[in-house]
Symmetry: C2
Subunit: 295 residues, 2 copies
């Protein structure tokens, strides 16, 4: 299967799996379930599920287990978007081309949608089919996802971000923020995929190096897009970071050096995949795909 | 050990365990970690940890494992209080005699505190020491907690509550709301304690009956307290439900019949403990303790 076909197959199966894991909109409480489905389904490039499946492919991980890991990460990502868009955070009205959840429903519902999506993520991951090898790894996998989502991961990155608004950050401080805010969950996506294939410690180390590069790469590209693309292309409000006086790779480095950094991170990431040979082709393909969004 | 001593020993060890599981306030991001500790430590009756330890005592569960299960449930409870107090929900300024988190810090920080406490709950539960029997049960235990916290449990109860403001509910509808809003997490506390002791299916069934009664009992008592006690006694704003025109057991039944219902639920709960003989003494003691708060 070529890369484009593989990507679209993973996106389709992720959409189908999410639709199954999310409670039906006619289950009580209907408004909450409807809003959860609105927040998660029918949008997004599913980059984290793609990374999870691509990492699993290196170790021939079972597809059904990868679906659970991929959806768990995507549900955490989805909850974070809903909460980030709230008036007390970024106060945004547009996401993936649609009104944000608190605009379409209301603020209290958006709060509960995020809360319930986070719970669902752990439920989906925990309900992995019972094989002895999976049982042995489940404790690590849940702890990995929880750590990535929590105060030393994604939520911590949000807190660092809050504290940074209006301040001048150094490049090192900006990197620290993104390692938490975006990087932690990207890393979790890759490592959970690898765990589904019972990857050994050496493989996990190589993949951690890969994932750290990809996490930053993803953010550098996001900053370039935010500065250069239109709201219509992005499906979310463009130029928001500059307008809010938030530091970005583009404001710190300029667009040209930001693009050079992206190319460097891409090359480093692909180098970290060397031990896996062509079993890592999808991971390499995703790396290029992430960069090409911006160039 | 008599009941009062046992209760205070469990409260002390829960406080100590929570202080260990929570990230230190000097770990980055400091403000977030400080606020997480503010939200969770030094307050609360620790009813859910008490129920967890009391249920574990029936089956001689290891104390270190009960600490993790008890703290996981308490962290979920703690997050729910922080989010419930937010302006878009109950908009409350006082909790456990102190300013609520969004008043003491700010709204964005309070949102992240709740989000990060939920992640931490699953991390604490997942990092249970690796014994084969615990590994076998961990999947069920994580799924149980996630279900209790999520859209078909506590968060769902909040959504039902939101939809009920200003409406007249029947007693059955009020019960449905509380079975989700308070009952689900109370039940999780009891069942997780039992899982830590490798309780069998029959025991779990009896304990589920017990926990369902206790969950409602807890809410009936809360409604009585809200109607009758002062803000100073409660440590949170009293008379709030009536002021917000929220349905309660007292507004639906009157105080006398609400107290009779509490006594009936107490007796039913204690009957459900019969199979366990005096191994369930602490569970029975807690049942009486919960009721005596109100009488």
């Amino acid at each position: 299967m070529n890369f484009a076909d593989w990507m679209s197959a993973v996106q389709d199966r992720t959409e189908a799996a999410l639709a199954t894991f999310l409670p039906p909109a006619d289950a009580l409480p209907g408004r909450l379930h409807d809003a959860m489905r609105y927040a998660v389904l029918g949008g997004g490039k599913r980059v984290r599920p793609l990374l999870c499946h691509a990492a699993g492919a290196v170790f021939d991980a079972p597809a059904a287990e990868l679906d659970r890991a991929a959806c768990a990460v995507e549900l955490i990502h989805g909850y974070s978007l809903v909460h980030d868009d709230l008036p007390c955070m970024d106060d945004d009205t547009l996401r993936r081309g649609k009104p944000t959840v608190h605009v379409e429903y209301d603020e209290a519902t958006a709060l509960l949608v995020g809360d319930a999506l986070q719970s669902l993520a752990f439920q989906v991951l925990a309900e992995t089919p019972e094989s002895p090898s999976r049982q042995r790894r489940l404790s690590s996998m849940i702890a990995l996802l929880a750590h990535a989502a929590g105060s030393r991961g994604m939520a911590g990155g949000q807190a660092i971000d809050l504290a940074a608004v209006g301040r001048t950050l150094t490049l090192a401080e900006l990197e620290q923020m993104h390692i938490h805010k975006t990087g932690a969950l990207i890393r979790a996506a890759v490592l959970l995929g690898a765990h589904c294939g019972n990857a050994d410690a050496a493989a996990l180390t190589s993949l951690t190096r890969y994932a750290n590069r990809i996490g930053l790469l993803f953010q550098v590209v996001d900053d370039i897009l935010d500065a250069e693309a239109s709201t219509a292309t992005l499906g979310k409000t463009a130029g928001k970071d500059a307008a809010q006086n938030k530091p970005t790779y583009v404001t710190l480095l300029g667009a040209t050096r930001a693009k050079a950094l992206a190319a460097e991170l891409r090359d480093d990431a692909i180098k970290a995949l060397a031990p896996f040979g062509n079993r890592a082709d999808h991971l390499a393909g995703l790396t290029r795909y992430i960069v090409e969004r911006s160039f």
